[in-house]
Structure formats: C-alpha cells, structure tokens
Symmetry: D2
C-alpha cells in the first residue's frame, strides 16, 4: 500500500469508505502561506456527493477539521493534518457483498493481495479516498495561486457526447455553472440528460476530463524520470477509474508530420519567448516552457451498476451480484475537482523541487 | 534533475549524448540471479542506431561493460553498474545550434532551467539516454523471466497506418522479424514504405507502441498512488517523445456503458479465477488481477527534421534552424525495446514491493 | 520539515504541543496483523506525563483513536491513522515567551527557518510529538513480536550516577517496577532521589538510556548507507534532547586492540552460528548477525529550568527568561518507551526491506 | 542493499574491492558550479592507500574519470558519474578465505543475507567503497565552499592516546602536515609511534575522528526526523568501522545540569545572534543555529589483524583464520577525508532542502 505521494510537498492519505474518518497529512508545505480555510471547504463541496440527481445520493457533509500545521491563520512549515469524518455510512448496504467479488471493482485484487478486505463501500479502494486528495489539493492551490498558477478542469466528453472545441474556444469558468461541469451550456444540457437516462437504466457511462494550467513559469519539471507530464500522468492514473492520459497533441499527434507538429519559437512584443503553436502542451523535454499546459484524462464507466451481474464469491463459486448502494452513474462531474487537486499537488511539488535545482 | 527511478529495484542513470559514456546503476536487484550478459547486449542491439535505412545512421556499437555487482555469473545483491561508451559522436554537427533553440526540442527548457546546456546532440535530453534504460531493463527482464513474466511490445501505428487487430489476433513474435517491429507482415511493409518516404521528404512521423505483459500474478501493484497502471504510465511518459498512455479499454472505454465494460469473474477448469472479458487490462484497483496486462503508448513525430524552421536564438533573435545530424524519421521501431525495458523495470519493482506487503 | 520516516514501514507524524491533536499515519504495515489496541494504550501510558513527581505535571490522558487501517481486529494493509487529542494545554503559560528565545530550545532556529512559530509549549519542536512515535512504535512492536523480536530499554545513567553493570547482569524486566525505569533497584532509588533534588533546585539533569534487542535473525540491515546501526543511530538522534549514540563496544571500543575486540565465530550445540564475545553489538557490516543488539543513547539535561536565564527576544534585545510551564527535570525515565518505539520502527522497516532483498 | 543516499543531492555508489571499478553517480547537483577536477583528485589522494608505513600498502593510484554531468568546466544539473578503476587487486591473497568467515568482518552477515558473496577483499563491504564517497564529497565541498561552509576533520584519539584540547585550542590546518592527521604535532608523533608499534605486533587499534563545520547559516536541518545531527549521525555510522557518534556536549553532557548546559543567546556587535557557549554543537531542535557544528566519531580497531584467530567456515566447521592481505593497523588517519566527505554530502543535501522549505 503506497498512500504517500510527492518528493517535497508530500502527502500521506488514509481512511476507508466506512471507517471513522478519512484524511491526509501534508508534509513539506512551506511556512508563511495564508491558510484559506473556507477555500478548502468549497473545494470539498465541489467533490461531495449529492450535488444533483446525477450524482450519488450518499449524504456526506464532508466537513473537515485541521489538526495541525496552522497557527494564526498561516502555515507553519510543519505537517498539516486534515481529517473528514465519515457520517453517512450505510454499511449494511454492503453486507450482501462481503463474500462476493463485484465485477471490475477492486474486491478480488485487494482480497488476493491483502488476504482480507474491508468490504464496506469498497474500503480503501473507494473513491471516497479522493476527498482527502481534494483537501490537500486545495492547500496546493493556495501555494500555486501565490505563484500565479491557475488549474482549471472541465468535462469534455460523456459517453459518445464529445465537446469538439479546444479550451481556447471555451469560457472555462462556465463549467461550474452546471451540474455536469461542462463549459458549453448546450453540451452540458445534453450530457446531463444522457447521464440521467443512463442512471434510470441502472447503468453507468464513462467520460473525459480536460484540464488547463496557466501561469506555470518555464523551468518546472524534473527530467529524465520525473518529467512534468510523467508526474501529471501518474497522478491522474492514480485516480479511481482512470484508463488513459494524454497531453498536448496526445494520441492524435501521432498522425502528424514533424513539420506540422513542431512549435516554432518566437519572441513576443514583451520580449517573452513564446511558441506559435502549442502542440507540445506547454512541456518540452519534461520541463514547462511557459505556454499553457493542457491534458485529457479518460474515465471508464463506474463499475457499480443497478443490474444483476455474473460473478464469483471468495470460494470461487458462481454468484449473482445485484447492484445496491448509492453510486454515480458517471464520475466525471465530480472528478473535475479531483483532477484539479492532483494537478495542483504535482505542480506544488515541482515548484519546490525547481527551487532546489538551483544554486 | 531526477535520474533516479524505483522504490526497491532502483535505477540511477547518467550520461549525455556526446559525453564520454552513458550508464546506469541498479541498486536493489536481489542476489542469486543468473546474469545473462549476452541477453543485455542483444537488448541493446534491438535499440541501437543504424539497424536499417529507416533509423538514424549514427554508428554506435553500444557495447556495454559491467563495473560491479556480478560475481561468478550471478548478481550479488550489490549495485550493478553498466556503462556504454559513446564512440561515434560527431559534435561538430551540432556547433551550428549551440546558440539556437530547435523547435519542439528541450533546448529552450533546459537552457532556462539549468542556465546552460550541453547542446551537442541534445546532451542529457537526447534519446541516447534510453540505452541505459534498456540495459537496466534487460536485468529486470532476467528477474521477471524467473517469475514467469514476459513483456512484449510492438508497433501498432505509424502516422495514419493503424493495425486494427487486437494483440490476441497477432503473432507477436513476428514483430522482431521486420525493421518496423510490427507483427503483421503486410502492415509492416506499408509502414516501412511510409517511414522511408517520410525520411526522403526530410520529415518525421509519429506512431504508437503497444505492449502486452503476461504471467503477472494477481497481487502486484501498490495503491492508492502507486497503482500498477499509474507506475506504468509514468514510466512510459518518461520516455522521450511520448504524448499519451492508455491501458485496457483506454480512451475508447469512455464511450461504453458499465454493463458493457465490466469484466465478469468466473472460475476456470483449473480452479483459477479469471475474467470473461478483459477491458480492465489486467489491472483492477491498481493491482494486477492475473489477466494479461496491455497498454498503448503514443509517440509524437521526432522534432528533428531535415527542413528549415523558424526559431530564435539564446538572445531571443529570429533564426532559421536547418536540419542536420543523424536522426530517426520515426522513433517507434527503436522505441519497442525501450517500452519493454521500462515496463520490466516497473514490474521488477512491483514484484519486490509486493513481497514486502506481506508478513 | 521532514516528519516522514521509513522506506517500507513508513510514518508520517503531525501535531503541535498545543494544537488540537497530534498523530501519525503508518503506511506500509502488512495486512493480517492482530491489532492489540490495549497494548498501544499501555505504551502511551508509559510515556505520558504525570507518572510521578519526577515527571512533568501536565495532565494528558493520552488516549488515542484509530481512524483507519483496522477492520475486524486486524490490520488491512492500508494506512493506519492514530490520533491523540491535546486536552491539558495551558497556552497562557507560554504567552510570556512568545517573543523570547529560550536558551537551548528550538525557538530561535524555528524562528529563523520558518519565519514564524507556534510558541505555545514549543509547538512542533515539543517532545509531545514523541507520543505519536510511541503509538506507531507499538504497532511496530506487534509486528516484531510475531517475528520473535523483543526490544527493551532502561535507564543506565542519570547525571554522574552510572549503572556499571552490563545488560546481561541485570533483570531488565525490573526497569518497569520503578519510576526511574532503572532495572537495579538500589541505583533506581539513588537516581530518583537525585532527580527529585535537582527538580527542587529548579534545575534539570541529563542521562543515558540503554537498549537491548533480542531475537533479530541474521540478515536484517541494508548496507552500505542504511546499515542497521546507522538507521538506529539516526532514529535515536531524531529524538528530542539526544546528543549521542553508540552501539556494541562504542566509544570505549576505540581503546582496544583488534585482537581484543574481534568476536570469534563458533558453532553452538544447536548448530547455530554464534560469536564468543559480542563487542560488535549484534551487527557486522551493517547487518544483524543474530546476536543481541545493544546500544546507548545520551540525553542532555532538559533546556527548561525554573531559574532566570539571560537571552534575547525576536528583536535581538536582551531579556531575562524565567522558567514557567510544567517540565521534566530529567527526561530519561519517560524516554525509555520512546527509545524502544524508535528501535521498533527501524526494525519493522528492516524486516520488510530484508524480505524484498531476496528473490 | 541500499547504496543510495540523500533526498535532493543524491548519491548512488557502486563497486567491489576487487571488481573492475568503483564509482558514484550524483543526481541533484545544481547546474553552474565550477567543477574543480584537481580538487577531487587531491581529496582522493588524502584517502588513498600507501600514504605512509602506517597505512595499507595496497597500491592504488585512485585516479578517477568523469563520465557525465560536466561541460565546459561547469556542472550541468545532470547526473555526475565518477569512476575509479581498481588496479592493484591481489585477489589471490583472498582465496584462502573464500570459505571462511573472518571474525568481526561482514563475511558471515553478507553470506547469510545475500546467499553468496564476493570474498575478494571484502567485496562490497570493503572500505574501498569509501573512495566513491570521497569523490562525491569533493563535489559537495565545491558547492559548500560557494556558500562559505568549511568542513575540517582531524584525528583526536588513537587507542588511549587522547587529545584533550578542544578544537578552538588547535590549529586544525596542521592536521594535514603529518601522517596521522592530528593537528597537535607532539601528539601526532606519539600516535604515529603507537600505530607503528601496533602494526609491528600484527595488531590493530581504534581511534576517534573529530570534525568541525564552520559557516553553516542558521536554518539548515529538517526536523523532526531528518534533524541535522540525526543525518550527520547516520552518515557517520554508515562509514565502515564506526561504533559511535556524538555532537556538541555528547555523552559527557549527560552529567551536566541544565543551568550549566544551556547556551545563553546574545546579540553581538555586528547585530548577529550568537550563543555565549556552544554545548549545543551548533544545532538546536535539529536545525543549525549559526554557531560552529562539531562532533566526534568512534572507529573500532580494524578487524583484519596479522595473527591467527579462531573462526568457522561456511559449513560451520572450526577453522583458523590467518591474517594476510594489506591492511591499515588504524583507520583514523585515512578516515579523516571520509568523515569530511560524508559531512559535506549531508550539508549539501540540507542546503538544497532548506531552499525548498521556503515559499
């Protein structure tokens, strides 16, 4: 189990879906940062269940408590511990699956690896764990804000409904104005209807979250292994249900010629080095080049569906798994703040590492 | 600069394209492994330049030397240092770009981050660095072989030429029979012609490497952050020119319903837990489930092209960059052993970490 | 701030002396360990304040809560979070020193490094932080117990009062029968009187804690940098007020000839490899050799004394610091469980690392 | 096997006593440092064998080669690989011990842990490994020099011959003027004679190396686990033959009262915060306070002696081990540059970590 992340801005997360609490310790946040307690709560609210009828109806206030690291409204350079009590666990919803392996969940692999598992709500493998990431990510965002860095994610695809516009053609701020978190209002409406229809069928559907990061100065990133995009990729792939990551031109870029793909450098009127195009996605050789960083993250359909499914139990015997519990028919609306949080955590770490890369 | 990788099976790589040597230290390889010196050389030969007219004509024997860690034909549990001398550097090929930033190379970002750079052949940012990875990966493969794990990669796309067959429909061993490393002979021929034509135009083209890993026992992988696919993703994204990673159903999976995407468990005739389908790509909750692991890696077109390009110099002044040097018009044929090497390194580390996950 | 420790059995501690809580997350404890909740409390009770009149009169119940990682009485392989609420903070006791640098405390260095500090009770630099280590150490002891490893520390010196007997000549279990934790009852009485007298003078005094570890199998330890004794040394030196560490023959061993110091190997009646003497302290080349491991840890006199002292304030102006607050006149009695905890944490980590050192 | 060290200024060392080469990769040295190639050689010369008749007569030129990381006389921010070929291995000197366990060597523990061992000259457990540390330490010293930090070690004890003067009473530069590296010429002469006499008896003797570090600014050090003195202690204890470490008042400090031990703060004429005494050894709460840092390191007598000793072989049978090979009768003269190197490596890492501790 590796629930620690980061080299200098380090996380250690903990907590099971139906245990007493989930939380995170951040070790390495520099001292002197204004601690915006309300902002953390607002970020948790963006992730919390029960936001609309297309998200799970589990009722968690997701109120957090600061246990350490903050004094007189400022970070102290000491570890910041944040906990969120679990309050609406309905563990009995899960007693029927205590000996079953739900298809495409982590039940079987946890069972094999650890010999036993907390089956209630998926235990540690539950996406509830990401609330701790969002809380930590909010602290990372505070640090980045001070450096002029903004992270903004949005839903760009649900099932086959795909937003064909690039991020420059969208008003990203509008993403927060609808339940789907798609910045195009028309598309948002279609997506909402589609998710709701899927929900009514007792099914689930996948989607894509896109993310744009602005204001990262040239220089952040630590090749050859900890390239900025490699760390972003790992961070995204560590989120529940993620199946793919691409940045800049991504998979589509493989069809281009070098003469089409290369981003020509020029000096702009302010004397700033820029590139005429940005197929590089703001990262070259694993280091930010000062252009916008953008990437896409693929989420599979949620494994829990309200339909009967064939499976086996812990004894290898065939069983029928029936869908119960409260789940999201599509995770991407709630995944938006999680993607942002993980991106912020990567960048906060890279910011600190870059400081240490110089005399 | 982070040139170290891995938690228990740890690498530390070094070397510039035109410096005296490149190499790697492996710290954490268990003792008692039969050291197959010839196998390392054969893996390096798969990656080395000059294999055919569609790869760079740089002539490097890429012969390696073992400096430590092996005695009486066996690993000793002590660090294994492998070095490869650079012999065919033509540094003067690069003098013209010593003050220029080549488009979509790492010249500018290294310059900004480190204040200076070894401009000869891209210095540390050169893909020559991956020879050290391949050497280390060969050692990881020896370890995995003993555990019954096989890693096999192949080219599945070059530009718009895309192999539509799944890996089960292919004889993967055939990939090594042609210069492109595509297991479908007809497609391989088309790809070869296409790359050669691109080369003649002085241009470059992207591609996709697919990889299949068999024999991984259920249990390998360290959630929540070091999920098996997250580590594979990071490892792949750390390879030069990679723009995207997807495993199992990948980006295509987002368009499926949960009822279509879920992999039903069953017990096979040998009493082994299996899944009827494998959209999970052999990994559930970040842990191997015993099925084949498969993933795809997107490579952009090589940035070096034999055409004039607009750019700027270190003083911000406009310059024309002319293509010189010896480069690959398409990296994917030589990327195949690199993808395998990185996958093997991830798995060797996960194998050791899984041992430590139990009492 | 590095509040994380360990490679595989990893800790992340947090908390200030007068904040809401202190605690620890253990990431990497294997699944399936019987979780002895009472044992953790009993270890905390050995460290807690107010045990006798020679320890600080701060009244902390030091009751802990498990937030995660345990289900059905067993560890789950997931992170174990333990917190201890602070209940008897008298922060006003510290308002007078909010702008003063107490001599030989960490006030000045934290102020310089972090720019601000939580001055209440020493904030993060308070030895209160060690309660989290004791809680984590109790979990490590559970794991070691299963492996047949026992860790036992005791007070061997207070000021000039020095126990001249070796650990083999003592009944170590008797250490827990007196307030000083010295296994020699006569010496314990003298030490108690001496500490009490020192307390009455408003002064403090140093001491030495000795520690013996039995049952460690040959093989644990990770040279060349993470030698078993090097990790033990670091762990001990990380405890508040520690000034020195020696193992085996220690500083006295430098006066011996090699012919006196070498431990001759022999095979005992059970066919077990043993050494005739054990000046090596159970560790050779950084790896346990199966003999008892023993070491000594020097603690300076507590910096807080009930006397006026010259110092300066944050503006550099001379001030008189007057001793207030509730403090130990001698730390070693309460340091005994802390030394044991840190030793247990090192050994638990080495146990897991040794598993990963083999094929 | 953990042959990696450091968080940001990271080492990976490799090499066996009688293998082709030993060496080190430094990953994390910032770019732009003037690379003083001659200085590295001069540091290696201080450690190399054959310096006088009281050191081993093995003849190693210990000439090193730079394989990477340096261009145009400056570090590039990329990994710096340094190798030293072994040239005077007389492996046949060791054939007689290939199946024997030499007393108080690492033969037995390596055999148990790794299942086999390179018995020639101690293989990886040989102090020859420290040449790589000295080379890396020289690079760290270059970095520290630029920050105004000086590291100076000297021999303060050989057997019972103990220099009673404090470092302030000595001209430390004189240490390099004699073969013993003791800054007091009279004592140096006595020590030389004593070591030489010990050598003639075919025996060995222990000693103490003291070390003083000046110019470290207040703020370096990373509590609570990576306290500056804890990292120094670990680094020293990782050196072959070290049995103890103490800093500041050390073990002697335990006999003092707090009122005697506390270091009063004052502001000096330059407005600089100072302490009137320095029993803290320049470190408070794990962080440098700007005063001189000083510590002592205990080295046991070398295990190889030219006398017959009782032992066993790999089959557990009694054997007589006879002393052969070329060894030091006392390691401390050659340990002086090793202690300095390890101290420099710790400080370089702490320097970089401290940069990352601030916004």
């Amino acid at each position: 189990m590796s629930s620690t992340y980061g080299t200098l801005f380090k996380l250690s997360t903990f907590g099971e879906s139906h245990g007493p609490a989930i939380g995170v310790v951040i070790d390495g946040c520099p001292a002197g940062l204004d601690f915006d307690a309300d902002f953390i709560q607002s970020e948790l609210d963006r992730r919390k269940p029960g936001q609309s009828r297309i998200t799970t109806q589990r009722r968690e206030a997701d109120e957090y408590e600061v246990l350490s690291g903050v004094f007189d409204g400022k970070t102290q350079g000491t570890p910041i511990a944040l906990i969120i009590r679990n309050t609406d666990q309905r563990s009995k919803d899960y007693s029927h699956i205590s000996e079953q392996f739900r298809p495409s969940h982590a039940d079987y692999t946890y069972h094999v690896k650890y010999g036993s598992r907390d089956y209630r709500g998926g235990g540690r493998s539950s996406a509830r764990e990401t609330a701790a990431r969002v809380a930590a990510g909010a602290v990372a965002k505070m640090l980045l804000r001070q450096q002029g860095v903004q992270v903004q994610a949005y839903v760009s695809q649900v099932g086959k409904l795909k937003l064909e516009k690039s991020y420059q053609e969208l008003e990203l701020a509008k993403a927060e104005e609808n339940a789907v978190r798609c910045p195009d209002p028309d598309m948002a409406e279609q997506m909402f209807a589609y998710i709701d229809e899927t929900r009514k069928k007792g099914d689930s559907i996948g989607g894509v979250v896109s993310c744009v990061i602005t204001g990262v100065p040239a220089g952040w990133g630590e090749p050859v292994f900890d390239k900025l995009h490699a760390e972003l990729g790992k961070a995204m792939l560590s989120i529940n249900a993620v199946k793919g990551f691409e940045y800049g031109s991504g998979f589509a870029g493989v069809e281009l010629y070098g003469s089409e793909h290369n981003d020509a450098f020029y000096t702009d009127e302010q004397g700033q080095v820029r590139t005429a195009t940005n197929l590089s996605g703001g990262i070259q050789g694993g280091i930010a080049n000062g252009e916008d960083i953008y990437f896409r993250v693929a989420f599979k359909p949620v494994a829990t569906i309200m339909q009967d499914q064939d499976s086996i139990d812990v004894h290898g015997q065939p069983v029928t798994v029936s869908g119960k519990g409260r789940h999201d028919p599509c995770v991407v609306p709630r995944a938006v703040p999680i993607v942002e949080a993980m991106a912020a955590l990567v960048l906060a770490d890279m910011y600190l590492r870059n400081k240490a890369a110089h005399l």
